[in-house]
């Protein structure tokens, strides 16, 4: 039996971004002894990259806003595939979650009368995003981090130990969720610094690991986004929902190559920035789809008037949901009207005075100046789509954030599916983290508390198996079938990124996805032979070799689901099925392990590891449907749904 450090906790939260930290705060406040595990240092999670703001219908800038309007916008943005109860809870609870941050010390930008200021964003009918310049994510993560510290200070005063009830295990990676029968019993992981293994026994585990962007070559995501939580859930027997929906943010940097993919915030457009092609034309006016026709301006003049008089004008089409804008940019570039480096132009320099730009968009100014030698107050930026967010994720219960089929497993934030349907609106991510982070922490604590003396036990065999799996890269040369020399994990990773980018990217075709599945099968076999040099202490090559399992699993989910869904909707665009099909409106695609009882990933290359099933979604509650005009619903819902 492996010698590993073991500790006992009530709730273990995997991930310390916005959702994980909010879950931890909630679980601890409800009395659960809570451990948080994160791959990076505490306070560095990918949430810091969020720029634009937190969507919450507080109505501070336009009093016409309320949760119903926010709910409607969210459903429209997601093309009605959203798990509607999540969208409802999210819209209802977001304002309280934002206000609560102020009581923990957050300092948002203010309105003239001293309330939290709110800005415009794509797909939101009213100015709705609470923000701090263009560094809102940093404010969110820092506030939550400081709240955790505040709770630890409380615990210190009572117990003499800062970590008696709430502890952050930083720079640690979880590789397996452990189970006792059907129930969660804890997690297995390693410390990045020392390479030592550890087990945290806990009846409730909240997965809050974020997204999967590192499987794509051009991405705004950091190295942490290797789909760990998605894979952990799959391996633990929980299904993933609608993994075909991947959001390509329309505006990533395209030049120089080393920064390709880094995000350019949507606030640039929300605050007045416009998109132009190489002919100087504001091309977005040509790309307003039918479902949005009556909601967007038809002329530049009307669009420009909207910023000052939103009640009598319609918004400019630069503020369409992200999937629409990304596709439009892609089409312009393809038609030969792109910028010199294969993007389009995003311009604020002719739209606002320089001092307003540097005040409202300080980090964008900084980013372009430092990394691209571009002064955005004087010249346009070059931008193009970048892989940004996955709408698909762990299938959860809307109210409790409990993963389906695995008692004790919860999920919140980007790793959870359903909330955003086929496409997420900007600003709805940070609010999602807070609303469902809290719900996950709450229900995890409640579940853990309800077990009393019947807690699940950690199975030693599972611990040994997990340890062996984690050590495999160190002995990759020996024992493997006719493989030749070990593979370089960096090379396998680069090939994976190229494959997903080229074959399962923003515009998809059946034969390319089939090709991708073949390539993934090949990479899966090669990843099993990924070998590493050196020892276990802070060894990035080893860490990457282990992350490959997760990226490959998740990539297969994306490719299989994308091949299956023969329509275009939100973050899933098929060249060979270009239209949205109402018959797909109420269809969820679920991915599960093909061999659920297998404790280790299968090596079977041809058939793959993922089995796909379809399910019909629950009908939208009538009072929520009644928030929409019939004429609008006709565009989305199938006939039989309309007349029920």
């Amino acid at each position: 039996m492996s010698v590993v450090d073991r500790q006992e906790w009530d709730v273990v939260v995997v991930g310390a971004g916005g959702a994980g930290l909010r879950a931890a705060v909630e679980a601890r406040e409800r009395g659960a002894r809570t451990a948080v595990i994160c791959k990076s240092l505490f306070g560095k999670a990918h949430t810091v990259m969020a720029e634009g703001g937190i969507a919450a219908a507080m109505g501070n800038v336009n009093s016409g806003d309320n949760w119903q309007v926010h709910f409607r916008d969210t459903m429209r943005g997601g093309k009605f595939l959203n798990q509607w109860r999540m969208a409802e809870l999210h819209a209802r609870e977001a304002p309280q979650r934002v206000w609560e941050l102020e009581t923990w010390g957050a300092l948002f930008d203010r309105t003239k009368d001293g309330r939290i200021s709110q800005r415009n964003f794509g797909g939101h009918e009213y100015p709705r995003l609470a923000h701090v310049g263009d560094r809102t994510g940093l404010e969110l993560i820092r506030t939550l981090q400081q709240k955790i510290v505040a709770l630890q200070q409380e615990d210190f005063r009572e117990t003499g130990d800062y970590e008696s009830r709430l502890k952050v295990f930083q720079e640690c990676t979880v590789t397996r969720v452990l189970k006792d029968g059907p129930r969660v019993s804890g997690v297995f992981g390693y410390e990045r610094e020392t390479g030592r293994f550890f087990v945290l026994q806990a009846p409730a585990v909240v997965i809050a690991t974020g997204g999967i962007g590192k499987s794509f070559k051009v991405t705004s995501n950091s190295w942490e986004y290797t789909g760990d939580g998605h894979a952990l859930a799959l391996l633990a027997g929980a299904p993933l929902l609608n993994m075909e929906f991947v959001q390509f943010h329309p505006t990533g940097m395209v030049w120089p190559p080393s920064v390709k993919g880094i995000l350019v915030t949507e606030s640039v457009r929300g605050d007045g920035g416009v998109l132009r092609n190489s002919e100087g034309k504001r091309f977005m006016f040509d790309y307003v789809p039918d479902v949005f026709k009556d909601k967007y301006a038809e002329s530049e003049e009307e669009g420009d008037r909207w910023y000052d008089d939103p009640d009598h004008n319609r918004r400019p089409p630069e503020l369409l949901p992200r999937d629409e804008v990304a596709r439009a940019i892609n089409a312009e570039v393809k038609a030969g009207r792109g910028s010199p480096h294969g993007g389009v132009f995003l311009d604020v320099s002719t739209r606002m005075p320089a001092d307003v730009i540097t005040r409202r968009l300080p980090s964008m100014y900084h980013q372009f100046k430092e990394l691209a030698d571009v002064d955005i107050t004087a010249e346009p930026m070059e931008v193009g789509p970048t892989c940004h967010y996955v709408m698909g994720g762990i299938a959860v219960d809307s109210d409790t954030a409990a993963a389906r089929g695995v008692p004790g497993l919860f999920a919140a934030g980007e790793v959870a599916g359903g909330m955003h349907g086929s496409n997420r609106l900007g600003g709805n991510s940070l609010s999602d983290l807070l609303v469902f982070g809290r719900r996950a922490g709450w229900h995890a604590a409640e579940y853990a508390g309800s077990l009393a003396d019947t807690r699940p036990r950690v199975d030693d065999v599972q611990v040994d198996t997990a340890a062996a799996e984690a050590l495999r890269p160190f002995s990759a040369e020996g024992g493997e079938p006719a493989g030749g020399p070990p593979e370089n994990p960096y090379t396998v990773h680069q090939e994976l990124q190229q494959t997903m980018n080229d074959l399962v990217g923003i515009i998809r075709r059946a034969h390319e996805m089939e090709q991708a599945l073949d390539k993934l099968a090949e990479l899966r076999v090669r990843a099993r032979r990924a070998g590493v040099e050196g020892h276990r202490q802070f060894n990035p090559g080893w860490h990457l070799a282990l992350d490959l399992r997760n990226m490959l699993l998740v990539s297969e989910c994306v490719a299989r689901a994308a091949l299956e869904r023969t329509e275009s909707r939100g973050g899933h665009t098929r060249e060979d099925h270009a239209a949205m099909d109402r018959a797909w409106r109420n269809v969820n695609l679920l991915c599960a392990l093909a061999e659920p009882d297998d404790a280790l990933p299968v090596t079977e290359a041809v058939r793959g590891q993922i089995a796909l099933t379809r399910e019909t979604t629950e009908p939208v509650r009538p009072d929520l449907l009644a928030l929409f005009e019939k004429e609008e619903l006709v565009k989305y819902l199938a006939e039989e749904e309309l007349y029920e």
Binding site: K44, V48, L107, R110, L138, G534, F538
Partner: protein, 255 residues
């Protein structure tokens, strides 16, 4: 687009010791030092340890010293160096090495815990907070901090003086005290906590002799010395030596 081969010296080792290792490595247009470190990992030194996350100057993970100067690896462009220059990358000097470019920055997390948290005002519920932009401008500047700890690394009070660490919170966390002190609604005073006094007495503000090294290395351009530390010093001094303030504080405490 033009590529060239650069010369690098990267410190490799761990707590038991180490040395600079020489590399020759390809550099392409527009790249930053972190790109080069990644290329070394992918092609020559797969186990080279380095921290990084966002690669966009927003998370403050990839702090190290380049040619002896504390910097973010992701925000240091290769174009600032001559092509024939040898570029030396070493771990942060003020913190114990873990491995290669990774250091143990636990000192900072310990200090963070010692600064009393924001005290919410009594009787003001969520959603009722009202603050004017001009009043939050100052603390907002300090909240731009990405906790890269370059200021903590460069500060001469602790850079080569391990013995000062217990008594000195460092620029980042003295700035945190200043931030809370300038928060329009922080109710520390009402709760009996004098942030200015604790800055002086408990967090070592007196050690700072305003050489502004911290401000110079701040990648966010926060004017740590001028806007946080000096005002905090002035207010701390007012408290300490102004007899009227002293008397006032005694009287108020009694009531």
């Amino acid at each position: 687009m033009s590529s060239y081969e650069a010369r690098f010296k990267v410190w490799r080792g761990d707590v038991r010791g180490g040395a600079l290792e020489d590399f020759r490595v390809e550099v392409n247009d527009g790249e930053v030092v972190l790109d080069i470190i990644h290329r070394l990992q992918a092609t020559q030194a797969p186990d080279l340890a380095v921290r990084w996350n966002c690669k966009a100057g927003k998370c403050g993970s990839c702090s190290a010293e380049i040619n002896g100067r504390p910097r973010l690896l992701c925000m240091t462009r290769m174009s600032v160096f001559e092509r024939d220059e040898t570029i030396t990358v070493t771990p942060l000097r003020a913190f114990p090495v873990v491995r290669d470019l990774v250091t143990d920055v636990g000192f900072n997390y310990t200090k963070a815990r010692q600064i009393p948290a924001f005290v919410p005002p009594e009787g003001v519920g969520p959603g009722e907070y009202r603050m004017m932009q001009e009043d939050v401008d100052r603390p907002q500047e300090f909240r731009k901090c990405i906790e890269c700890f370059l200021c903590q690394d460069v500060c001469h009070v602790v850079r080569d003086h391990e013995e000062n660490k217990p008594a000195f919170a460092g620029p980042r966390f003295l700035m945190r005290v200043a931030e809370l002190d300038m928060h329009p609604l922080d109710a520390a005073e009402e709760s009996g906590l004098d942030r200015k006094r604790t800055a002086q007495d408990e967090h070592g503000l007196g050690y700072c002799n305003i050489t502004k090294c911290c401000t110079e290395v701040c990648p966010e351009g926060i004017r740590i010395t001028d806007n946080a530390l000096i005002p905090l010093k002035e207010r701390a001094v007012d408290r300490k030596y102004d007899p009227l303030v002293w008397l006032g504080s005694k009287i108020r405490r009694r009531s």
